[in-house]
């Protein structure tokens, strides 16, 4: 049983001002959230409301600077940890734009990451068996394992590869940052099934960031949070997400 607790989180991003100076612009303006094992939390909200910033701030991207507030995973202070220490504590971020690493195969990458997380190298036979079966269930071609990480991958392939990592690395809490964007309906089903499988096997807690309701047809949220102007402004059950699909976010955004 794991628990991510976020209290009053404020964070800024460094941006270049017109005169060339770097200035901090506040994006997160006091976020309160709790994410527990076994449950799915959807975060919905308009463009620019800070949803992705929340994801990257929790994972520790150097571009974002926390100015106040706390984030603890199982009582440990996430914000004091390096990026890899957060991963080792059980946090995972499926990215919207995964980065290309030429010359490093998917297999090699996964094995290295697994070794880093577990502190010891996985048994080769077991590892390959796991990899093959996970790839099969995500309907990924076998050749995929030998391709360079994300290099030349289509948008859909990149997303599947993120979920493949989620399944192989077995974190406690996963943040999915717009994993559904750019996917056709078949790919969306496959990716959703991958997330649901991971939940079954490891009691994963999921923080699912999305613009659209449609992924929630496949991954049922326990709670839905509406995000606007850097904080949570409303919450409810799956019904709230459905209503937002019709009404949009207008009522949460200042005119």
């Amino acid at each position: 049983m794991s628990k991510l607790v976020i209290r009053g989180l404020h964070a800024s991003v460094l941006v270049k001002a017109d005169n060339g100076d770097e200035v901090a612009k506040e994006i997160l303006k006091g976020v309160d959230l709790e994410v527990e094992s076994g449950k799915v939390y959807a975060i919905m909200g308009p463009n620019g409301s800070g949803k992705s910033t929340l994801a990257y701030t929790l994972a520790g991207h150097p571009k974002y600077v926390v100015t106040s507030g706390t984030a603890e995973l199982d009582g440990k202070d996430l914000l004091q940890m390096t990026v890899d220490e957060r991963a080792k504590s059980g946090l995972f971020l499926a990215m919207q734009y995964p980065i290309e690493v030429p010359g490093v195969s998917v297999t090699n990458f996964l094995r290295t990451a697994k070794t880093a997380l577990d502190g010891k190298a996985p048994q080769v036979r077991e590892f390959i068996k796991d990899l093959n079966s996970n790839m099969q269930s995500l309907k990924m071609d076998k050749k995929f394992a030998n391709r360079s990480l994300n290099e030349g991958f289509s948008g859909g392939e990149k997303k599947r590869n993120e979920i493949l990592q989620l399944k192989m690395l077995q974190p406690k809490i996963a943040i999915l940052d717009e994993t559904d964007s750019g996917l056709d309906v078949d790919a969306l089903k496959i990716v959703s099934k991958g997330v649901n499988d991971a939940r079954k096997t490891t009691d994963l807690g999921v923080l699912l960031i999305t613009h659209y309701y449609r992924i929630l047809d496949y991954i049922t949220p326990d709670e839905v949070f509406v995000f606007a102007d850097g904080k949570v402004v409303d919450k409810g059950d799956a019904g709230l997400a459905k209503r937002l699909e019709e009404t949009g976010y207008d009522k949460y955004v200042d005119a």
């Binding site: 991207h61 991963a87 504590s89 990215m95 690493v101 010359g103 997380l117």
Partner: protein, 476 residues
């Protein structure tokens, strides 16, 4: 929470890198203690007399010595002004006789090679023949019996000259004349050791021949001279490795490698240069490729304080083909000026240069290349690809590509990229559990993968290990 990614001080990082050079031990250098410093007629005469050379070789040496004195320093490349040519020892003979059993070597020299793992590699049959040069002389040389029976010659160059003088008269200095450059002249005057290889027509040597160069004496100049002749339709892969102790006084390695690739033959020459950071490495390597012959240079530069090396091919016969794959690393205080030269003299010749470099912590890598296609070399194709990776903001990469094409009917490609390890790349890999240095090492390994996969297995593994050690504390 344990703090694994504690910031290191610069001193800690530097000392770690020094420790990462595992070949830096010093053996007793009694062999070199009494050796004369500086190069003059007397030294050249003594080398030649001791080797009982024919008069024409002594004459060539003396002309080359004059060349070394008169030919100007190159106006480009690395700065070697700190190197005092008058302080160097030009000839150090470590032992009186060459052996073909490791056990027959003096104990201290044997211990050196055991530390380097050479006898082991030969026992495991990873190599078909081994030459080991210590200071100025080849102290160990052996080749598998079956190859010898097929007529394959693998000798140190001094023995080669004694036993195959006619071949030397024809080919010595043919690809690289003594007055080619200041350093070709220096080598031609003071050369000692190196390998002589002859592969008869149609013979394929399937397992590599290995040469290992070790400098032990402080302030030594090592001038090995290698001549490889691959007769028609033959094949050989020759692998060369180099290390030296860490001393406060600089040493110089200035080898010359000449390769004759006859009609339809194929030669692959792999170098992994890992000199310690007090060795200047100024080397000339060139192949003369005849009709439908293929030359492949695989060139790895990791060590030395400064290197100038441009493995070259003269494509002299129709359909001749050459490729240089080069991978270069520069760390603190290092300047690696590397690249390739391809000279197309005949129709339908092909060349390819793939050069990758990694600069970190103030290191500087320069790519310097020449592609020359003369009039009449119609239908020729040349491709150049150079990629530089900068690990941090204070490292440097330069590209100096020269193109000289006098023929219209040719295809030329040139592509150059400079990339930097980005925060986003590091973040992505770290978010999967890799520590910062592991993430950077993974990016570097991926970057050089296209070349690393061409290396013999044990060298590829060694390269990986070196990258990991060197990336310790390199970022952040």
């Amino acid at each position: 929470m344990e703090q694994t990614a504690k910031k290191r001080s610069d001193d800690e990082i530097l000392s770690e890198i020094d420790r990462s050079y595992k070949y830096g031990w010093q053996d007793d250098d009694s062999y070199g203690k009494g050796a004369k410093r500086g190069l003059d007629e007397q030294v050249v005469l003594e080398i030649s007399r001791y080797k009982q050379e024919p008069q024409w070789m002594l004459d060539l040496r003396l002309r080359a010595l004059e060349g070394f004195r008169t030919i100007k320093d190159p106006a480009w490349g690395v700065d070697y002004s700190a190197l005092n040519f008058d302080q160097l020892k030009y000839y150090v003979r470590p032992t009186d006789k060459q052996v073909s059993n490791w056990e027959d070597l003096p104990d201290d020299i044997l211990a050196t090679y055991e530390k380097l793992g050479l006898p082991e590699a030969e026992k495991k049959r990873l190599v078909a023949g081994v030459a080991a040069q210590y200071e100025s002389e080849v102290v160990y040389n052996s080749i598998r019996k079956d190859l010898e029976e097929q007529g394959v010659v693998f000798l140190d160059t001094d023995q080669g000259l004694k036993q195959h003088e006619a071949l030397f008269r024809e080919y010595f200095g043919k690809a690289i004349p003594f007055d080619d450059s200041k350093f070709a002249a220096l080598n031609s005057a003071a050369w000692s050791g190196g390998s002589f290889v002859y592969i008869p027509k149609g013979v394929h040597v399937k397992i590599p021949l290995q040469a290992y160069f070790r400098i032990n004496t402080q302030s030594l100049g090592q001038f090995e001279r290698t001549l490889i002749i691959a007769d028609e339709d033959s094949y050989v892969h020759y692998v060369e490795g180099c290390t030296a102790p860490i001393y406060s006084e600089d040493s110089l390695h200035s080898g010359v490698v000449e390769i004759i690739v006859k009609k339809g033959a194929r030669v692959r020459y792999t170098t992994i240069q890992n000199w310690s950071n007090n060795v200047y490495n100024l080397v000339t390597q060139r192949a003369l490729v005849e009709e439908n012959g293929t030359m492949e240079w695989i060139d790895g530069n990791i060590g030395s304080v400064a290197t100038m090396k441009y493995p070259s091919a003269i494509l002299a016969g129709e359909g001749a083909n050459a490729e240089t794959l080069s991978i270069t690393f520069a760390g603190p205080g290092q300047h690696q000026d590397t690249g390739a030269k391809m000279i197309h003299l005949a129709p339908n010749t092909k060349s390819s240069i793939v050069a990758k470099s990694v600069s970190r912590e103030g290191g500087r890598c320069s790519y310097r290349g020449l592609v020359k296609i003369v009039e009449g070399a119609e239908g020729s194709v040349s491709n150049v690809l150079c990629d530089a990776l900068l690990v941090d903001n204070n490292s440097r990469s330069d590209t100096y590509p020269y193109v000289d094409v006098k023929e219209d009917d040719v295809l030329m490609g040139h592509e150059a990229t400079v990339t930097k390890i980005t925060d986003d790349q590091l973040f992505y890999l770290m978010s999967r559990g890799l520590a910062e240095n592991e993430a950077a090492a993974m990016i570097v390994r991926g970057f050089i993968e296209p070349i690393a996969k061409e290396l013999p297995m044990e060298y590829a593994l060694e390269l990986n290990r070196l990258i990991e050690l060197q990336m310790e504390g390199s970022v952040g």
